[in-house]
């Protein structure tokens, strides 16, 4: 395709199937304490997998 370029296709609707493991961070605990942006949190399961392959670099440093 020339005019549309997919940057991300997480297919959120399919992630409902596992009902959520509940191990991820509470969003307000992380930095803000006054607002809520859940989508900038990481999935704990995916992060564990990523850390294993990334020499322990945290998610926020991944694109560095």
């Amino acid at each position: 395709m020339k005019h549309f370029q997919a940057i991300a296709q997480p297919r959120l609707q399919e992630t409902m199937k596992n009902r959520g493991c509940g191990e991820c961070q509470s969003s307000c605990q992380s930095a803000c304490k006054t607002s809520c942006t859940v989508a900038n949190q990481s999935c704990a399961q995916k992060e564990q997998a990523a850390i294993a392959g990334r020499d322990g670099k945290t998610n926020h440093q991944a694109n560095r």
């Binding site: 395709m1 005019h3 370029q5 997919a6 297919r11 959520g20 607002s35 989508a39 999935c43 990523a50």
Partner: protein, 465 residues
């Protein structure tokens, strides 16, 4: 639903229900915009509209791509969770422990009322109460392994010995009950010293230090008890902590107000000082205050996020990398839909505990009338209130059901909704407006930083169709 927008000069389409994000050229933007405005438009009508400003052959090619994406289910994905129920079974897994309701600063915008929490209360948490709070959390946490505990205030470092004792107790509980505590401390940094810094870097998964930005901005809003500025008391201590922490797992967290609507300069100041993990938030306060942000400030605030975003892109490429919390989005590895629907978990999975052991839905609710949920001392806990907060997910909020940002903010802050609208189900308008702009900038930044990775000719790059 598709949200189509431009930010930082980048055209972006978000397919709301799948979370798909697409970079668009001008033709694609115009074609999709026409289709969103005229959902029943025929190809002939769309092409006629595009022909006014674009080459006809290119327009036909773009429209064909657009139709192919819709056919493949990549755009206008239907709602998939109409009868959603939160599945947490009364579990509590995160806790904000108020180590001290006293504070050594007198920040003008403090929602904790300079530590008093609207209760004329400057109490200090007894270590035994903190330990009981951890016991209670372990009991309420079911099969959750990771438990989050944030020491908060007031200023928690006014009670550092208790924090040290409670953390040590938590480590004992971890072994006994196969749990893992992720501790955080949120501090103004005034009392940081070598001992505390080393303790933090050994025991705290995260440290949040409050600095508003430029010295004059910080000092205006964050004076000491004797009215003097506090920036000079903090900045070098924060740098030491961050250096010893190797720039890992911390935030320098500031607040902007109507006094510094040029807050991009505050973010950039902190970056210039060597901090790489930054978060600056709009003040949330009674509109009667001079420094309260007003609706008429929004265009200026939007422009400021754009200005910050442009400079952010430049610096992340030229060796001056930093991360800004509200520009951070993990569009492929982010949370599942269950998490996105339930949000911060206040009053349900997350609670706050005061120095006298009282339980509230979150730190911001502490001291508000009729908001107490129980006590860790007598182990009372109102499960009806918990069920009410649990049911307050994003799809249960009328305003959110039609909002494109619903799976990113998850319905916003319940405490703000309660403070401004008297109802946790009715989000605070100003918060929504700013959140939407931040998200647009965050997505545009993600697109700009990632679009070079996908140059293949498969439709929409990595879609696999």
């Amino acid at each position: 639903m598709v949200h189509l927008f431009k930010a930082l000069g980048q055209a972006v389409a978000l397919d709301v229900n799948s979370g798909g994000v697409y970079a668009l050229d001008e033709l694609a933007y115009d074609a999709l915009a026409h289709l969103i405005e005229n959902p029943e438009a025929s190809d002939r009508e769309i092409l006629a509209a595009l022909a006014e400003t674009h080459d006809q052959k290119q327009a036909a090619e773009t429209l064909a791509e657009l139709r192919e994406m819709i056919e493949a289910g990549l755009l206008f994905t239907p709602d998939v969770v109409p009868d959603f129920q939160v599945n947490t079974e009364g579990i509590v897994k995160a806790m904000c422990i108020h180590a001290a309701h006293d504070c050594n600063l007198r920040c003008k915008y403090c929602f904790a009322d300079a530590g008093e929490y609207h209760m004329r209360d400057r109490s200090i948490l007894p270590p035994e109460t903190g330990k009981k709070a951890l016991d209670w959390l372990v009991k309420k946490s079911g099969n959750r392994y990771n438990l989050e505990v944030d020491f908060f205030g007031g200023e928690p470092l006014l009670n550092f010995p208790a924090i040290r004792e409670i953390v040590a107790y938590g480590r004992e509980l971890e072994k006994k009950y196969h749990k893992h505590f992720k501790f955080t401390t949120t501090t103004n940094g005034v009392n940081l010293n070598d001992e505390i810094t080393d303790f933090f870097n050994r025991e705290m998964d995260n440290v949040v230090i409050s600095i508003d930005g430029r010295p004059e901005v910080h000092d205006r809003m964050r004076p000491t008890a004797n009215g003097k500025g506090s920036y000079h008391l903090i900045i070098d201590k924060a740098k030491t902590l961050v250096e010893r922490r190797k720039q890992q797992q911390y935030y320098i967290r500031g607040t902007y107000t109507r006094y510094n609507l040029d807050f991009a300069d505050d973010v950039l100041h902190l970056a210039d000082e060597g901090f790489e993990q930054l978060s600056i938030e709009p003040v949330v306060t009674d509109p009667k205050h001079d420094y309260a942000i007003r609706p008429e400030d929004l265009p200026r605030i939007y422009a400021e996020y754009e200005r910050l975003g442009k400079e952010y892109l430049v610096r992340r490429k030229d060796g001056r990398w930093f991360s800004f919390f509200h520009f951070t989005l993990d569009l492929t590895g982010g949370p599942c839909l269950q998490k996105r629907l339930t949000g911060c978990g206040a009053g349900n999975e997350y609670v706050a505990v005061t120095p006298n052991g009282d339980i509230y839905p979150c730190h911001q609710f502490v001291g508000r009338e009729n908001m107490r949920m129980g006590s860790v001392l007598d182990e009372t806990f109102d499960s009806d209130i918990q069920a009410y907060y649990k049911s307050n997910h994003v799809l249960a909020k009328e305003k959110c059901r039609s909002c494109w940002a619903r799976f990113f903010c998850s319905g916003g802050c319940a405490a703000n909704a309660h403070a401004f609208n008297g109802d946790i189900t009715k989000p605070y308008d100003m918060e929504c407006s700013i959140e939407q702009k931040r998200l647009e900038c965050a997505m545009a930044i993600y697109v700009i930083e990632h679009k070079e990775e996908f140059t293949g000719d498969s439709p929409a790059g990595n879609s696999g169709i």
